[in-house]
């Protein structure tokens, strides 16, 4: 996936499946993210709360962008985050790692058919995050 391609808006059934599985996916992503001690040690006792709110935000943002088929919404948020998150001790590579975990958890928790509609959006985010990291390097 590169950022030149634009995924289509997902179907109502895929959206419904995503919403039904969202809480499970979030728990799965948070759990795997917290397991990466090197990436969370700077947050101390706040790690769970910070990671959880970030993943919730990501999943909510993704839901809106997928529903209307607008990657411009993801672009805007990723650009914003690249300026803001380092000040919250969240490095760009941490964001990238968590996007990849999101991708894996979505694929694991949804049917192949629904995951096939949704994963292109996460792939777009991963590609864009890589671009932003190269721009800042």
């Amino acid at each position: 996936m590169n950022t030149q391609s634009t995924p289509k808006a997902i179907s109502k059934n895929a959206l419904e499946a995503y919403r039904s599985a969202k809480n499970v996916i979030i728990e799965d992503v948070v759990s795997q993210s917290l397991a990466n001690k090197e990436q969370i040690q700077q947050h101390g006792a706040e790690a769970d709360k910070l990671i959880r709110s970030g993943i919730q935000f990501t999943m909510d943002m993704l839901e809106s962008a997928m529903t209307v088929g607008a990657v411009a919404l993801l672009e805007d948020q990723l650009t914003w985050a690249s300026d803001r998150l380092p000040h919250d001790n969240v490095a760009p590579e941490h964001v990238l790692a968590r996007f990849r975990i999101c991708r894996d958890c979505i694929s694991k928790n949804l049917s192949d058919a629904y995951a096939a509609e949704i994963v292109p959006f996460i792939d777009w985010m991963i590609a864009r995050q890589n671009e932003l990291m190269k721009d800042d390097a």
Binding site: A9, T67, V68, A72, L73, L74, D76, R84, H87
Partner: protein, 228 residues
């Protein structure tokens, strides 16, 4: 206290009121709300249009405050103070805002449920008042049921909806669907605005709105076009 911040082009570049906007934001960042208030009141009394103050001072300084927090040059408390101060100062301009002859048209203006950024839609409501509309401003995070009841109770010609955060686009669609499925959907036209709609082309059509506006000034024209 000196403010050692390099403001963006949006605030100080192509801004017909760049000096005023800079002075205003400097005052707020120095916590000098009373002086900032007097500055604005004096400027209006000298003949500067309230609408220009809204567009070129308040809107631009709000945008700048958001950028300054994003880049960690101000903290959350400072951002909240500046926003609250601007809201207070806007309220002090209401004798000027409510002075226009009424045109018989009615607006309900609201943020979508879950949306807390209300300044933009408040400015829209005030612009409509200045244009002679009767406005019913609901503020932030209003439930769908209350919005529908308000449209009916106010006999609104236009429902103006604002969403600033990306993830509220879905809530916007759900609100629009609810309005169009209800009895009030037959009469009230839906106007939408906010950052997601500024950055994603034609998103306003995808979510089912009748019209879109980039700012408060454009909203008046779009609303008049929808009712013509």
């Amino acid at each position: 206290m000196t403010i050692d911040i390099a403001y963006s082009e949006y605030l100080v570049g192509e801004n017909p009121l760049s000096e005023l906007a800079t002075e205003y934001l400097d005052l707020l960042l120095r916590s000098e709300r009373r002086i900032a208030s007097q500055l604005i009141l004096d400027t209006v009394n000298e003949g500067v249009d309230v609408k220009d103050i809204y567009l070129h001072v308040f809107q631009r300084s709000q945008h700048e405050i958001g950028r300054l927090w994003q880049t960690n040059q101000v903290n959350v408390a400072q951002e909240h103070f500046c926003t609250a101060s601007t809201q207070l100062i806007m309220s002090q301009l209401y004798p000027y805002i409510f002075s226009t002859e009424r045109n018989g048209k009615r607006l309900v203006a609201t943020c979508v449920g879950g949306e807390l950024h209300e300044m933009g839609v408040r400015m829209v409501a005030d612009f409509f008042e200045m244009a002679g509309w009767d406005t019913y401003y609901l503020g932030a995070n209003t439930p769908v049921k209350s919005i529908l009841e308000s449209i009916e109770a106010q006999s609104a010609d236009i429902l103006a909806i604002s969403a600033t955060i990306t993830f509220n686009v879905n809530a916007t669609m759900e609100l629009i669907d609810a309005v169009k499925a209800s009895s009030v959907g037959k009469s009230a036209k839906i106007l939408i605005g906010g950052r997601p709609f500024n950055i994603a082309p034609n998103l306003w059509q995808t979510v089912g709105a009748d019209g879109f506006a980039m700012d408060a000034q454009q909203a008046i024209q779009t609303a008049d076009d929808l009712l013509s």
